[in-house]
Point group: C2
Chain length 495, copies 2
């Protein structure tokens, strides 16, 4: 029988197939796949020595660094489930995710542990630093030689329109099918190298690691987004593919000026929210091979991407679903006609099987026949090309980070003198969108804007703190007393 549910451990296989190919470039440092495997095995043995057991669920709070890649593969070798934590979150937010996911170890580094020193007192499980691990002894264990497609590989948190963030469960199969769907669309060239300046704790970054070991191509890793250094890499021809969000692409183009990228550079994969047509047109003029894509944590990265031959003729479209995935537009409960706007539903082996321990959310988010309702709005043209009209009505995407207004509103409302609050995303030239807050104060009370900012900073990652604040006498509402955020946004736009 075909065991289509089993795949080899991709790093072990890759190190066996092409041990000497480069796996990671980081500044002037190179690591081969053999070295990556050896180091991942070593770090896994060190983790095992400090008490991590096969199959444990482990939180990881780390910035982009080769050691992070090594660690993430090490956890796969140990058969662990990895909870990827956003380093920009506040202690409170991290604690929620650690507790909710039932992680029993947290791996971070000394700097981040110090920045989040509240965790130590409030979380009952061991926090291990990368620095400490380096000094540890090793304890051998049976390597995870193969992966079962349905086994959980990672959990990444995403917020919803209401309530707490939800853990998106990503299986080995999700990651694997995503990478295979991508290669069939984008192709694979000898000499390919994927530039990663997006966070490894996001699906945009983590998925590059999977593609790297499956395809046998290097990751050119950046600690953080640096348009000058990235442009130099793309001009030199060293990188052939890059994953970006709109804000990154804009800054890159501005810094690039009149120069051109190397002809080897064959794909700027542009995802993560609304893309201004002007940006796409500039790319077209400059012959930058931009491929708009649509994806999310729940689809283990891309689910639709424009094909090479359509990148010019279908400007503004996110393309068609990848080979193994499906898309449909649903309007008032039925499939929309071409060009009709509706909610985007997605399905396929790269789509999450659900939110961690959130049966309620799963019932709400999935149809009985397995379609995930994304909450995003879009339409398909007559030829089946997807156009994104709006990400989830509420969702604010700021420099590639998802911001859910509900989370911020809860914090503002926790102020004893605030009566009502509404947060919306407004256009920003640098970040795409930024969060902006409207609030109503209880009668006879006074609330200072600075006070609310301090409150938010205390509880929220910095990028979530509203950049503009407006006090109103009351919020605009519809008949059923729902805040009309649309009106608030329009009001700001017309301002």
């Amino acid at each position: 029988m075909v065991q289509s549910n089993i795949i080899p451990n991709w790093l072990i296989k890759r190190a066996y197939l092409t041990p000497n190919r480069p796996a990671i470039f980081f500044h002037n440092y190179t690591m081969t796949f053999q070295q990556l495997f050896d180091e991942a095995k070593t770090v896994a043995e060190k983790l095992h020595h400090v008490g991590v057991q096969i199959g444990d669920r482990i939180g990881v709070l780390l910035n982009n660094h080769p050691e992070t890649i090594v660690l993430l593969h090490g956890l796969q070798l140990l058969g662990c489930e990895t909870v990827l934590l956003n380093i920009r979150l506040q202690d409170e937010e991290l604690l929620y995710q650690l507790n909710d996911s039932e992680a029993i170890f947290l791996i971070s580094n000394e700097k981040l542990i110090e920045q989040h020193n509240g965790l130590k007192n409030q979380w009952d499980h061991p926090i291990i630093s990368i620095e400490q691990l380096r000094q540890e002894k090793e304890k051998s264990f049976p390597l995870t030689e193969q992966f079962t497609m349905d086994d959980l590989c990672t959990i990444m948190y995403t917020s919803g329109t209401t309530g707490h963030p939800k853990g998106v469960m990503q299986t080995y199969g999700n990651h694997w099918w995503s990478a295979i769907g991508s290669v069939i669309n984008l192709g694979l060239h000898e000499g390919d190298a994927w530039l990663c300046a997006v966070p490894l704790f996001h699906i945009s970054g983590y998925s590059i690691l999977i593609r790297s070991v499956l395809y046998g191509i290097p990751v050119i890793l950046f600690e953080k987004f640096d348009e000058e250094a990235i442009n130099e890499t793309l001009i030199s021809g060293k990188a052939t593919i890059i994953s970006v969000v709109t804000a990154m692409a804009q800054r890159m183009l501005q810094q690039l000026g009149n120069r051109s990228y190397h002809p080897n550079f064959r794909c700027m994969l542009l995802g993560g929210g609304g893309v201004p047509l002007s940006l796409l047109e500039t790319c077209k003029e400059k012959e930058i091979p931009v491929f708009q894509t649509y994806g999310m944590t729940e689809t283990a990265s891309q689910i639709a991407t424009l094909s090479p031959e359509d990148s010019l003729s279908k400007l503004g479209s996110a393309g068609k679903p990848l080979f193994f995935s499906q898309l449909q537009i649903v309007k008032e409960g039925v499939q929309a006609k071409p060009t009709e706007i509706g909610e985007i539903y997605v399905k396929g082996p790269n789509v999450t099987r659900g939110y961690w321990k959130r049966e309620d959310a799963n019932r709400e988010s999935f149809t009985v026949d397995g379609w995930l309702k994304t909450g995003d709005m879009g339409y398909m043209d007559e030829e089946g090309y997807l156009y994104i009209v709006d990400r989830r009505t509420d969702l604010i995407i700021s420099g590639g980070e998802n911001i859910y207004p509900a989370e911020i509103e809860q914090i503002i409302l926790s102020h004893p003198h605030v009566k009502e609050a509404a947060v919306v995303g407004v256009f920003d030239a640098q970040w795409g969108q930024i969060p902006m807050a409207f609030y109503v104060v209880k009668e006879g009370k006074n609330v200072d804007e600075g006070e609310l900012i301090r409150l938010c900073r205390e509880h929220l990652a910095k990028y979530k703190v509203p950049k503009r604040w407006i006090q109103l006498n009351e919020l605009p509402k519809n008949a059923s007393n729902k805040v009309l955020k649309r009106l608030l946004r329009k009001w700001v736009e017309n301002e």
Copy 2:
């Protein structure tokens, strides 16, 4: 849950994704994927009209032609299982395969039906010609929108060391994993086009059809091998990849002379038996990108292929197993050490689940943990690269066709005056190997060589008829009375 066992019907999906890309080039004729789908649907509806039902098992006896490709996809749309028949077989051989496979229709063309006119009288089921189908009405049916990996797609017959040919069951999953394993090794370029001058009824040809629809690249189809026309296509740059066997490569190189192939030509996939090192060295000199590969009907084409970076440094090796497959060398029941010669065992999702209705052969051929014993001999070097020493001791590979001596020996032994017979493969500059017969006549009897040739021609495909005949007084045997074919071969070589 991830449905990793279900894939979309690859042709339907491909026609939806890239309808206007070319699917087939044949002489000056081009067919797009949309046209291929439309025509495949039409032919399937015609078949349905003449009585073919969803899921029926259908024999196909056709030469390379766009209509054959259309038909093979049409049968997949109908959810039929296809038994691919070698057009060079004799009626008797075809009858055996049709009866054994329990096919209930045979699709062929008028010319081949006339050539095999014995079938009509001896086979109880309908024989449909392509020409007749063209005139048929259509009857619609629910298209097979998706494939289940474990479902049977094709059966191809292969002979063993003893007894009748065996039907190798190839599932959709086998074909699919084979194509994915290949793309991860060989890559996929915009503009790729796969030249197919190998028979579509062999796995080498059929697998090109699957890759074409999965990758969205055209097949450049040839009716038969024609080194001049093929060289022109490769010099023009229109084809980027070609599948060949040794005899083809040799004739191509000879015809090529001092000319060079186009730089677009990036892969000559060379399989199907022993490859003389001199051929590889000539390719190296001429900078022809040759990739030696190892595969068989049972592995749905390639299971090991040399990687681009190793094609020069590991000359003579068939490379490492593809990403999802495994290889091991077994000597005296245990895994051989590096450089030690043993039997090649293979495993993976591209490997057949067994021979059709041959529980005995399946028990013999598979280990309890799912390894297929290929019968081929080889070794791995210290770095894990496979070297083929000898295909199944007995197997003769002549111009890419597998010839099993046992089948020929049975025919020779059916002559009333023949006492013993042994057929071996001997070196031939044009075909790689040709079959040669040794026979012993019963006491007091006389058998003419021409008589035996006539007997063979009556029952066997022409390519199987021994080209040289030698009468002996007795065959060399070992203690357990087994014919020492090794000695016979050596004797011919020293001659």
